[in-house]
């Protein structure tokens, strides 16, 4: 199966051969070189390992022959998840030749020897640099993760709004459910049960309700995360996990729910026991 590939989306990986360029070119003419394509492209274009394709830098040009030597899975990279273009990996010299970019690259990855300081290597490279600049991998990662930091801040903001809504909802609910039982509470008070005991009972009840609610909520959340992951992984064809329920998240949600429940229960309970038992009875 043959397919035309636009090299504007290609990433060149590998090492330029030490052999002279002329020898490489004659070798390429004799046998097509291997390229690697991403799994989504293989699936969409019906390509398999061993398939022969033609690749060129511009539409309509004859270009070069190549063999699909490998099909690779994309990384679970959030930065790439919504990008729909296909990815091809070629030998560096092969891409340079196709693009007519003799001896040019976009970037180098440099590893320092054990014990050598990254900072001093960086300083030495930038001291002699002309037309390029060296950066620490960590700095590049920080820069490229800005998108996710923004998403994280957005999620936090949405979380705050949701927590406020839940807190108000919980307080309303407990206030009403406690008020609905004011006759029972009045009876308990008239029997000689202390205010603190009544409030404690209400708080314990609120805590149990919050705990059960948290467990049920976690169950709903877990099912929702499965659905979300299934939908988005299929939509974007990526192994990236979009929603994740971790023990830490569960503990945080349960803890928050308990605090809100206990607070709301205490507020509702104290509000009621302040009134005299007879007025609670409606007498």
């Amino acid at each position: 199966m043959k397919a035309f590939l636009s090299l504007v989306v290609a990433i060149a990986l590998g090492l330029a051969s030490a052999a002279p360029l002329a020898a490489q070119r004659s070798a390429q003419r004799s046998a097509p070189r291997g390229i690697a394509i991403d799994a989504r492209m293989a699936e969409d274009l019906g390509l398999a390992v061993g398939a022969q394709v033609r690749i060129s830098a511009k539409p309509g040009e004859p270009g070069d022959s190549a063999t699909i030597a490998a099909i690779y899975e994309r990384k679970a990279d959030p930065a790439e998840v919504a990008r729909r273009e296909y990815r091809v990996r070629l030998h560096l010299d092969q891409l340079q030749q196709l693009m007519e970019l003799d001896d040019r690259v976009d970037r180098f990855a440099v590893g320092t020897r054990d014990g050598k300081s990254v900072d001093s290597a960086l300083a030495r490279i930038n001291h002699v640099a002309f037309g390029f600049r060296a950066h620490k991998s960590r700095d590049v990662a920080v820069q490229s993760s800005r998108t996710f930091r923004v998403v994280e801040r957005f999620h936090t903001a949405i979380g705050i709004i949701t927590v406020v809504a839940s807190a108000v909802f919980l307080l309303c609910l407990l206030l009403l459910s406690v008020e609905e039982r004011r006759r029972d509470i009045a009876a308990l008070r008239l029997m000689g049960i202390s205010r603190a005991t009544v409030v404690r009972a209400i708080v314990i009840e609120a805590a149990i309700v919050s705990l059960i609610g948290s467990v049920l909520g976690a169950g709903v959340g877990w099912i929702a995360s499965l659905l979300v992951n299934a939908h988005f992984q299929q939509l974007y064809r990526t192994p990236l996990v979009f929603a994740l329920l971790t023990p830490q998240i569960f503990a945080f949600a349960t803890g928050l729910s308990l605090i809100l429940g206990i607070g709301s229960g205490a507020a509702a309970g104290w509000r009621l026991v302040k009134s005299s038992p007879l007025s609670l009875m409606g007498r």
Partner: protein
């Protein structure tokens, strides 16, 4: 009015309920603004200068890669020859080195001044070509505010821009002295990016012979603005120019929405949740309130109040609660939308004029009416139950407590 009196009798409960509905309404409004705002914002951004079509290298979105279109002159001439096309603006993008400045390089746009739709001049003068008749006359460029700040330059300064650096020989293949003629607001470039605009011919000269007839993108304006005419022009470009992709505003919006679909899905999920919360809150509140007033309602029925009258009063209670909550929610929603928009505008690579949350009266009111309907309907079942209370039994239960 019994509904009003009931709400006033329990101020803490009513306030809390209104607050709960207000938060739910605000969240719903925000999510509707998020779902519709991105498209609206992007549409207005694309149509800022009237160009409804983008022509980019085959299979790519504008400036999504470093690909360029060869044979640009012939393509632009063919487009301009079409009587249905009013204007065509070719653009070439590149990175040029800036000598002796605070920044080593800047994103550069090569444009034709008469038709360009990428920036508006905010200070100084527009770009000019080099005057070949006068050696003293240097070409003028327009730069962004970020460029001036980061390069430590001002309008009127002369700088050297270069391309084709040779790291081994430590020389630039081509360079040119230019005057910063003006400062501009670049419509499609992120605010944090230092950017230069200069004459297209000059940029091609700087990039060398291989760029003599290249462009990264062309914008085209259909003479007639209706979507059918625009689509007809787009189809004509796609048919006659097989080496390019013609994208209409609608297609571009669709593709951007695809990339930002996560936010739409999130908006849908959270919008549905807030609608559910509003419904549950009103339903719970009115149900408990009715249960509390069984005796009161039985007395009303016993002294001759019609079933419909009771139904109306309880139904009205839900309506009043929801309405009051929604009024608060509208104000709260606009404030939180501004806050959330401020967070998302920090996204790298987005034009500074792009907004995620945009108030659209149609969508906004529709969302609030939906919540009002949902909240009002939530009071329907408790209202029905209140109107159907067996009078004698309720009175007896009330009497013996």
């Amino acid at each position: 009015m019994m509904a009003w009196a009931t709400l006033r009798r329990h101020p803490a409960r009513t306030t809390l309920a209104m607050l709960g509905i207000a938060v739910a309404a605000a969240l719903l409004l925000d999510m509707v603004m998020l779902a519709t705002g991105m498209s609206e914002s992007f549409r207005s951004l694309l149509l800022t200068r009237g160009y409804q079509l983008r022509v980019s290298p085959k299979g790519t979105l504008p400036f999504d890669s470093e690909a360029t279109i060869d044979g640009a002159g012939a393509i632009v001439r063919a487009l301009r020859a079409n009587p249905d096309i009013k204007a065509v603006s070719p653009t070439l993008g590149a990175t040029l080195t800036i000598d002796d400045s605070g920044i080593p390089s800047a994103f550069t746009l090569g444009l034709e001044r008469e038709v360009q739709g990428d920036y508006t001049v905010e200070a100084g003068t527009d770009i000019t070509r080099a005057d070949s008749t006068s050696a003293a006359s240097l070409p003028r460029i327009v730069v962004s505010q970020t460029f001036l700040t980061r390069a430590g330059r001002v309008v009127g300064d002369t700088i050297t821009i270069s391309s084709g650096l040779d790291a081994q020989l430590r020389t630039a293949a081509r360079s040119s002295r230019v005057v910063i003629g003006g400062m501009g607001r670049f419509i499609y470039v992120p605010g944090e990016t230092p950017v230069i605009a200069l004459d297209l011919a000059l940029l091609r000269e700087l990039l060398g012979p291989s760029f003599r007839d290249r462009m990264s993108l062309a914008m085209a304006e259909s003479r007639r603005g209706d979507s059918t005419s625009v689509e007809a022009v787009r189809a004509w470009i796609a048919t006659t120019q097989p080496r390019v992709t013609a994208i209409s505003t609608e297609t571009a919006i669709r593709q951007v929405e695809e990339r930002l679909s996560y936010f739409r899905q999130l908006a849908f999920v959270l919008g549905a949740i807030s609608l559910g919360i509003g419904f549950l809150l009103v339903a719970t509140l009115v149900t408990l309130s009715v249960n509390e007033r069984r005796g009161e309602i039985a007395v009303l029925r016993a002294i001759g109040t019609q079933r419909v009258g009771v139904l109306q009063q309880v139904f009205l209670e839900g309506l009043l609660l929801t309405s009051a909550g929604i009024i608060g929610g509208l104000a709260l929603g606009l404030v939180t939308a501004e806050w959330l928009n401020g967070i998302l505008r920090d996204f790298p690579g987005l034009p500074s004029a792009f907004d995620f949350f945009v108030w659209s009266s149609d969508a906004g009111w529709r969302a609030l009416v939906l919540l009002l309907t949902s909240g009002t309907l939530a009071g329907l079942l408790p209202a029905w139950r209140a109107a159907s209370i067996p009078i004698a039994r309720a009175l007896r239960e009330e009497a013996i407590g």
